[in-house]
Subunit: 484 residues, 2 copies
Amino acid sequence: MMEAVQVKNAGEAEAVVDTLVGRVMATIRQRISGRTLAPGAKLPSIRGLAESMGVSKSTVVEAYERLAAEGAIQARRGSGFYVRRLPPLCLADVAPRLDRAVDPLWISRQSLDAGADSLRPGCGWLPPDWLPEAAIRKALRRLGRADAATLVEYGTPLGLPALRHLLAHRLAERGVEAAPEQIVLTESGTQAIDLVCRFMLEPGDTVLVDDPCYFNFNALLRAHRAKIVSVPYTPSGPDLALFAQALTEHRPRLYVTNSALHNPTGATLSAATAHRLLKLAEQSGLTIVEDDIFSDLEPEFAPRLAGLDGLERVIQIGSFSKTLSASVRCGYIAAKPDWIEGLTDLKVALSFGGGRLAAELVLDLLKDGSYRRHVEALRQRLGRAMAETRGRLAALGIEPWLTPRGGMFLWCRLPGELDGAQIARHALAEGIVLAPGNAFSLSGTARSFMRFNVAQAADPRIFRVLQKGLQRAGGHVMESPAEQ
Amino acid sequence: MMEAVQVKNAGEAEAVVDTLVGRVMATIRQRISGRTLAPGAKLPSIRGLAESMGVSKSTVVEAYERLAAEGAIQARRGSGFYVRRLPPLCLADVAPRLDRAVDPLWISRQSLDAGADSLRPGCGWLPPDWLPEAAIRKALRRLGRADAATLVEYGTPLGLPALRHLLAHRLAERGVEAAPEQIVLTESGTQAIDLVCRFMLEPGDTVLVDDPCYFNFNALLRAHRAKIVSVPYTPSGPDLALFAQALTEHRPRLYVTNSALHNPTGATLSAATAHRLLKLAEQSGLTIVEDDIFSDLEPEFAPRLAGLDGLERVIQIGSFSKTLSASVRCGYIAAKPDWIEGLTDLKVALSFGGGRLAAELVLDLLKDGSYRRHVEALRQRLGRAMAETRGRLAALGIEPWLTPRGGMFLWCRLPGELDGAQIARHALAEGIVLAPGNAFSLSGTARSFMRFNVAQAADPRIFRVLQKGLQRAGGHVMESPAEQ
C-alpha cells in the first residue's frame, strides 16, 4: 500500500513543481515581451527572484534553464542569464511546395511534410489509429525499466541478438531459412536497401526495377549513380521475355523488387514466374534484392524469391514501419554468410552502432502473441477498407488494374486517359496528397494511373476533390459524388 | 486512492498471468526436450491443455504464441501449433576476431563486439554508468504518454521542429548562427557525415583529413570511393603549410575534422589557425565538415569554424551519442539554406522518415536544466579520470602528446617506439580492447601511439595487461605495476 501511495505523491509533487516553474517562466516571459527586460538585459538573480516570488531557488533555476532551452534567454557560464539579442526563430516547418516537379521524391516529400490535418490517400503507410498505440506505450514503459546498457550503449555490429533470433524464425515461417548470424539489423527498410546497394554496386552499374515500382527505389538508385532500367510488371510478376532481354542488353548487377503485395500494384509474384526469374538470374549472375516490408499484410504467404533460392543470390529486406510504427525505426537484411561480414563492416562505417533502443522496442512488441493478433486485425480491416474504397472510386469511373490479395494499395486507371500529376497538383492545393502514376514509372507510361492507400481513404472529401480534379482535367466523370 | 490501488492490482494481475503463461511454456518445453513431443508433432489443443492444466484458454494461447516467437514451436494458420523441425539456432553473437587486420574498422568492430565483461579503454564512448540512465527512464515513461502521431508516424523530412529549434539555440551559444530550417536531423552523427559526403562528393573526389584523425572517417570515406589525403595535425590544428600544399596539389572537395576536442589527440583548433584555414578554404573553394560531437565535454567553448565562417563553406555535424545515449540515435547537420533542400531530399531517398521517436526522446532530455547539470558533472568527472589515468600511464612510461583541455581522450606515445598494434592484439586476447595509433593515421606514422579513453580506464587490470604487453613487445618498462 505504502508504495502505491508514494507513487501517487511523487506524481503530485512533480505536478506542483511544474506549476511553480511555469509561474516563474510566465513572469519572465511577460517582462521580456513588455520590455521590462530588454534584449541583452541580465535577468534577476536567482536568489532575488526566489525571494520575491516566494519559491525555492531550485524552482527559479529550473525555470531559467527551460527558458534557455526554449531560446528566450541565454546562459553565460559563470555570469548568469541574459535576454536573447537575436530575433525569435521560426518554429514552423517548411510547407509542402506546390511547384515541385513530380519527380520520384514528390510523393515522399509531400506526404511527410503534410500537416496533421491533410488527407493522404497517396502515402504509403497506415494512419496512426491503425497501429498498436497501446502496445507501444506499454513497451516504452517496460523499456524504462531495462538495464543501463540497453538504454545508453551502442548495439553490437549485427544488432540485438534476441531480435535476430526471432526474425530468423519469422523468416522460416515464410519459407526463408536464415540463421540469426545471417541477419543484420538496420535503422529502416530503406536504409537496408541502401546498405545493400552500397555493398553491391559500383557507380554506373545497371539496376533493374519493375515498371511501375515503389517510387523511392528510383530516388535511392539515383543517389547511387546507378543506371536504372525498368521492366514492365504483369499481374504475376515482371514480364519474363522483357526481363531476359534486359539481362542480355544491360548486364544488370541487381534487380530490386517486392515479391508479395507488390508496391504500387498489389500484385503477387506467381510461383512459376519466381522459378523462371531465378533461373534467368542464375544464368546471368544477377543478384536480387527482395523488399518484403508488406509481408505481414498478406492473407497467406506467397512464394518468396529468398525462400526458393535459399538466400544464394537473393537478399531479403524487411522492417516494421508499416505494421508497428514508422517512428520506431528498425529494419533488417537477410543474406548469405559471405556477404554479412562485408555488409556489417559497411554498416559500422556508415552508421556505427545502430539503433539499439528501437531494436529493443521492436523485440518487445513482437515477442508475444499480441503482434500476431494485431496484424490479423489489420488484414481484416484492410479488406473492408479495400472494398469500400473500390466502390467509391468506381463511382468516379476509376477502376483498379487488378484485385490485390491484400495490403493497402489499389493501383487504378483514371478515366479518359487523364493526367494523374495534374489532378494530384490540384488536390494538393486542397490539402490532399495523391500519388500520381508516373512517380512510380521510370518509362513514364503510368500517366493515367494513380495509387490509392485504402487505409487513408476514409474521408469523403477525398472523393469530392478527386471528382473536381477529374472534371477540371476534362474527363468524363459520373455525376454522383462518391459519398456513402 | 482508488486509482493507486487499481494500478497496483493491474501490476499484480500482470505478474500472475506471466507466471501461469510461464508454467505452460515450461511444460511444453519439457515435453519437447524429453521427446514426448517430437520434432514436427502437433501440440495439444488449446482447450485440452487449458483443462488439463487448470488455466484459461487465453493463457495457453499466450504461451504458445511466446513459444512460437522464441522458435520452439511453429504456428500454421488454420491448423494449429507444431514442434519445429529445424535444429535450434545459435543465439550467440560472433565473437571478436583476433586475426582481423588493424584496418580503420578494427577498433569499431572490436569495441562494439566486445562482451559486457570486456574492458574497453580503446573505445570512443563513456561507460553506461556515466550516462543519465535515470533521466532516460523518466523520458521513456513520459514518451509512453505522448500522442499517437509521435509514437507511430514518420517524422517530417527535416525532423522534429521543436528539437531543431532547440538545437539552433544551442548552436547560437557556441557562436554558430543557424535557423531551425538550416538544421536537418539524422539518425546519428556518423549518418550525418555520410549524408553530407553523399551530397558533396563524386566518386574519385579528394577529401582531406587530419593525421591522426578519428579512424571511422577513413572507413567512411573509403565507402565513398574518395581519394583520402591526410595532413599532419599539430596541437593547434592542421599544419597550415602542408594544408595549403595539399590544397594546391590535390584540389580536395572536402575537409573533414573536429575543431574542439579533436579525436584522437584532444587538441583544440586555435583561433589563428581557424582563421587562416578558412581563408585557405575560401581561396580554393574547399568545403569543411566540422564534426562537433564532443562539444558538451569542452570546459569552455573554443572557436568553431562554423561560427567564424557563418555556415558559408562549413557544414557542422553533431549528435548526443557521447553525452546522452548511444542507444537512442539522433544526430544533425547544420548548413546553409541552399544545401539543406538537397540534403533533405537525399535523406528522404536514403532513410525515408528518420527516427522520430529518438528525436522526441532527445528533445525531452535536453529541454530542461538537467542536461546542463549532467554535462557539467561529466566534465568534472572526466577531469578527475584524466588526471588519474595520466598518472597510471606515466608509471608505465607512457606519456601524452599534449594535455587536453577536456574530453575523454589521451593520445599517448608508447615507450621505446613499440608497436601499438602488437600490444593491442595481445590485450584483446585478454579481453581488453585498446586503440592502436595507426588505426587513426592514414600515413601510418602513429605506430607507437595509442589513444586512451580515461572514462573507460578505471580497472587496474588494464594497466597490468598493458605492462605485460609492453614487456612482451620488448620495451623498457618501469617496474611497479600501476595500481593505486
